[in-house]
């Protein structure tokens, strides 16, 4: 796959997310997919679907806008803006109908026309502030 083809696959994945329909996830996400985000790791289709379903419930208008996309070889980097109204249950936070807008970035690695690995970042501090909650305290 060329860099341009890999970019098209990433765009298709974002389209699926924005339609809140992951029924064709097999076509863009590899079976052994791994997502690393802030030291946490998520593996495979089901875990990914579940994470997004939680997002779709919490934010029924959840949308990702691609602000920048850069591809080279089997890698694609994306800068995005995620928007959504918090009107459903989300990780135990009671919905307050708050509008949220958060920026973030992903580094993707693809193989054979599917995404095999992603490294993700998002502005969690802004999200917590917009949700009107204190960030959960964790161990470093």
């Amino acid at each position: 796959m060329s860099a341009e083809e890999n970019k098209a696959i990433i765009r298709r994945w974002f389209d699926m997310i924005n339609k809140h329909d992951l029924s064709l996830i097999d076509e863009v996400i590899s079976d052994d997919y791994r997502l690393g985000e802030f030291g946490m790791e998520l593996k495979g289709h089901e875990a990914l679907k579940q994470a997004f379903t939680t997002g779709f419930v919490g934010f029924p208008d959840l949308n990702y806008r691609i602000d920048d996309i850069i591809a080279q070889g089997n890698k694609v980097a994306v800068r995005y803006t995620r928007t959504g109204t918090h009107s459903g249950e989300y990780h135990g936070f009671a919905p307050k109908n708050k509008w949220t807008e958060v920026t973030g970035a992903f580094f993707y690695r693809l193989a054979g026309g599917k995404i095999v690995e992603a490294l993700g970042y998002s502005d969690r501090l802004a999200l917590f502030q917009q949700l009107g909650v204190a960030p959960p305290m964790g161990q470093a």
Partner: protein
């Protein structure tokens, strides 16, 4: 993306951030450079040198950025990095804690005319605050 632009980014990381040698910055960064990350924007090369590079090195004198991954296309380059540093000076209002941190992030740099004109970045701020043993006061939304 030319080899020259790749070299410019590596030079900025190795010399300016990691060694505090600002001599080569003007050669690779445009005077109207825009540096931004969530909640922060610094305009102009001089402000960038003073507030970001020198500011970071004052707070973290042993600051070190290691490039984990790079994606380059056209006039853009994305970098995934790990920053390691010891907190020896005031940082974002936080008095020095003496703690060592290892924080990862991604930056996307845009070039024009062979120089960096814009950099946008995001890092694991919350993880960093936790490693420093502090969480900043949260505003009420």
């Amino acid at each position: 993306m030319s080899t020259e632009e790749n070299k410019a980014v590596m030079r900025l990381i190795e010399e300016a951030y990691n060694k505090g040698n600002l001599a080569g910055v003007d050669g690779v960064v445009a005077s109207n450079f825009l540096f931004s990350s969530p909640g922060m924007e610094v305009k102009g090369r001089e402000s960038y040198k003073q507030q970001i590079i020198t500011g970071m090195r004052t707070a973290f004198p042993d600051l070190h950025f290691a490039t984990d991954d790079m994606v380059a296309e056209g006039d853009k380059i994305a970098i995934s990095y790990t920053m390691t540093a010891t907190h020896k000076g005031e940082f974002m209002g936080i008095p020095p804690t003496g703690k060592k941190v290892a924080v990862t992030g991604i930056s996307i740099v845009h070039f024009a005319g062979g120089k960096m004109v814009e950099s946008w970045g995001i890092m694991d701020d919350l993880g960093m605050m936790r490693q420093l043993g502090v969480i900043p006061p949260m505003g009420q939304a």
